[in-house]
Symmetry: C2
Subunit: 209 residues, 2 copies
């Protein structure tokens, strides 16, 4: 299991500071959707240069032109990009095609997808590398969590899973039991006064050390 | 009816050149989704400064944190931002809330929404300013066009409509007959050797002069 730090601040300097502080404890740097829209592709290049040992995920949440968006993101240094499960199937295929072409990976984000198990099976066959089980922030504020979806999809589909959605020290143990490939944590690290300490505590729950 | 130029090149200089060339004929500058992800919010500020007479739309295609993404975009100078119809209803509400707060406008993009008329009625009640009838590029490549959806939604819902999806000189007359508030043209202008000439011809079909 890997720990992915979801960074949803808006500026490059804040993003750098968060990664620098938590560097020892995280495996995957996620440039969040609001952050990539705010700072642009230049940030992907900088992160690649500054943190070469980390896996770099860009949360493009692509809804159209899957191949076009993924291409420039991989060329800038991303290892994984995301595409929306609610997108047209041809958009998902385009993202996967770009990932294969670059020797990189595609994650299909299940946010707001009605039948997650059915789509997970379908994109698994199409060659997606990960499926993301994801309750959005606007959904968390309305009381949703990703746990039940994670249980259902992990039981029914053999594809590496990433799980995201308000995961914190109170909720992480139930997630860890289901052994997803990637556990995504944002606010429970980035929103604290001491992100380093928070990352250390979260990493310990995931890795037992 | 207004003409919106959808700009899906990837660099600021190419985008500036396209607007400069077509300036006389377009009403709305659209910073496309791949372009905002590539160049970031700085481009919104530059467009605002350089083309103060134009309406500026940023195609955020927001899928989560509706208010958060719209806020920084309006603060940078956007007049209209987009949110995905396939997003959680709370995300759509967040974008609308931000628009009202800034005295600006929210457009709900119907790309890949199963029941467009039902959602258009719903977001109209919630205070959305526009509904976007939109066949994505990956959908156009699979043979789809926005015309039948435009007919159905315009017949059933009283909300200003924007229509997008491969519109060109061959297809625009059927769109114009239905009198949408905004006609979005991308490749039929930006993909030609002479964007100025193409914009002039398209504008003439829309405005009759």
């Amino acid at each position: 299991m890997k720990l992915q730090l979801a960074i949803d601040v808006l500026t490059t300097d804040e993003a750098f500071a968060l990664v620098q502080e938590t560097r020892k404890y995280i495996d995957i740097i996620e440039i969040g959707t609001p952050l990539i829209k705010h700072e642009g592709i230049k940030l992907v290049k900088s992160m690649r240069t500054l943190f070469p040992e980390k896996t770099l995920l860009v949360d493009l949440k692509t809804m159209d032109v899957g191949e076009y968006e993924a291409n420039y993101c991989f060329e800038a240094g991303a290892d994984i990009v995301t595409v929306l499960g609610v997108a047209d199937i041809n958009t998902i295929k385009g993202t996967i095609k770009s990932a294969k072409k670059h020797g990189k990976k595609a994650l299909v984000d299940m946010i707001n997808v009605p039948n997650k198990t059915a789509l997970a099976k379908k994109v698994n066959k199409l060659g997606a590398d990960f499926v993301g089980i994801h309750s959005g922030i606007d959904q968390q504020n309305a009381g949703q969590s990703p746990l039940s979806d994670l249980k259902e999809v992990s039981k029914n589909v053999k594809i590496p899973l990433a799980v995201a959605g308000g995961i914190n020290l109170d909720t992480i143990d139930d997630i860890v039991k289901l052994k997803p490939e990637i556990i995504v944590v944002g606010g429970a690290i980035t929103g604290t006064k001491d992100p380093k300490k928070a990352a250390k505590a979260i990493a310990k729950r995931i890795k037992g050390k």
